[in-house]
């Protein structure tokens, strides 16, 4: 059946949790590309057959024409599925770059899910965002609602290491320690899951 492998690819993407990436399915992607080549080959041989029979390819409507048409439609369908797969993955990567990638590297488990071109896309996107923000002089990545209190209490969940320089002091973030940080400093660590906000 035509287009079934491409359908599997799209379905695999849709079956994951919303906003989460699965590992890039190189194998299935490659097989869909092979199928496209097969369709293209069959299309060309049918057109050649029509030309040999002396028919005008543009207007003749015989059985070969409809066969060629079906191959052509399958090609465009495969193309659509492949493009949608890449496009939707790229959207998630953009969100990743915005939330996490501005200052630090991606965590290991996410990095192995991306293909090589997607990793480059992530790096380029993060670089562009950084240069944009430095040109504007604003950090647009912080929370949009002005807080009541510029300082918040946080607890460190994972060992970040010592001697980190923040905007007003340097601190040593050992695990399970609690600190009183400026909101803007703490935000990047909270977004990466290294700290949590204490609201009590």
């Amino acid at each position: 059946m035509h287009g079934r492998k491409a359908y599997q690819l799209v379905k695999e993407f849709a079956s994951g949790e919303k906003g989460q990436l699965k590992p890039f399915n190189r194998e299935l992607f490659g097989r869909v590309l092979e199928e496209c080549n097969e369709h293209h080959g069959a299309l060309q041989s049918l057109i050649r057959k029509m030309q040999e029979e002396g028919l005008d390819v543009q207007t003749a409507r015989n059985a070969d024409h409809y066969g060629a048409l079906i191959h052509h439609l399958s090609l465009t369908r495969n193309k659509r599925c492949l493009m949608a797969y890449m496009y939707n993955r790229a959207e998630i990567i953009r969100v990743l770059a915005w939330k996490v990638g501005l200052l630090h590297e991606l965590p290991e488990e996410i990095q192995e899910k991306l293909s090589d071109s997607e990793e480059e896309y992530f790096k380029d996107h993060a670089k562009t965002l950084k240069s944009y923000m430095s040109q504007m002089g604003l950090d647009v990545n912080v929370d949009m609602v002005p807080p009541k209190d510029p300082y918040i209490k946080v607890r460190v969940l994972e060992d970040v290491g010592g001697g980190i320089i923040l905007s007003d002091k340097s601190a040593n973030f050992a695990r399970h320690s609690m600190h009183f940080l400026k909101r803007t400093d703490a935000e990047q660590y909270i977004a990466r899951g290294l700290m949590e906000e204490l609201t009590s």
């Binding site: 069959a42 493009m83 949608a84 996490v100 906000e197």
Partner: protein, 185 residues
């Protein structure tokens, strides 16, 4: 072309419809019952919607009503629309129906879709708002994709309201990073 990249649209187009070929086609392996690599005129085949739609516009096939809109489903919807398991019939029931409308000669599909949706919409909203207080009901498993989106939107708006009322942490771990695995130590 806003829907070109839309995953839901692509998956809807993959649903099968029964067609009858008006013209023969050579060199394609679509008809599993034919021995040669071709489809004969008058052959009845099940095709995906994306293929059937294009061939229909070029007058090569005619499309019949798909099995998920058949008499049995209609009777069940008339009896009690809220309990019909539309997801097992067709997870894209409404979108699929809307696409089929201009292609098939049957005018009653329209009324079927509308009446089913009206009754189920009310059920979805009531269940979404009250599910927090009861054990999760069976309703979410019966819903199509479209209805599930509505259900989740209603639930998330309900929980956002509760958070606003009671307060909670403003800064959260980025959801795009996935669920954290607790390390064992």
């Amino acid at each position: 072309m806003a829907s070109y990249y839309d995953i839901g649209d692509i998956l809807t187009d993959e649903e099968f419809v029964p067609v009858v070929f008006h013209k023969a086609a050579n060199g394609v392996i679509i008809d599993p019952s034919s021995e040669t690599n071709s489809v004969e005129q008058g052959a009845k085949v099940e095709l995906q919607l994306w293929l059937a739609q294009e061939l229909h516009w070029r007058q090569a096939v005619s499309i019949n009503v798909p099995p998920c809109f058949n008499q049995r489903t209609r009777l069940e919807i008339q009896a009690d629309a809220a309990c019909v398991d539309l997801r097992s019939r067709c997870p894209y029931f409404y979108e699929f129906g809307c696409k089929i409308l201009p292609l098939v000669g049957d005018k009653t599909v329209e009324f079927l879709l509308l009446s089913a949706f009206k009754i189920r919409y009310k059920e979805i909203l009531t269940k979404a708002y009250t599910a927090a207080y009861m054990a999760t009901s069976k309703v979410p498993t019966l819903l199509t994709r479209e209805e599930t989106n509505l259900y989740e939107a209603a639930q998330s708006s309900m929980s956002a309201f509760k958070i606003w009322r009671m307060g909670g942490p403003r800064l959260q771990r980025a959801s795009v990073l996935g669920r954290k695995r607790k390390s064992i130590d």
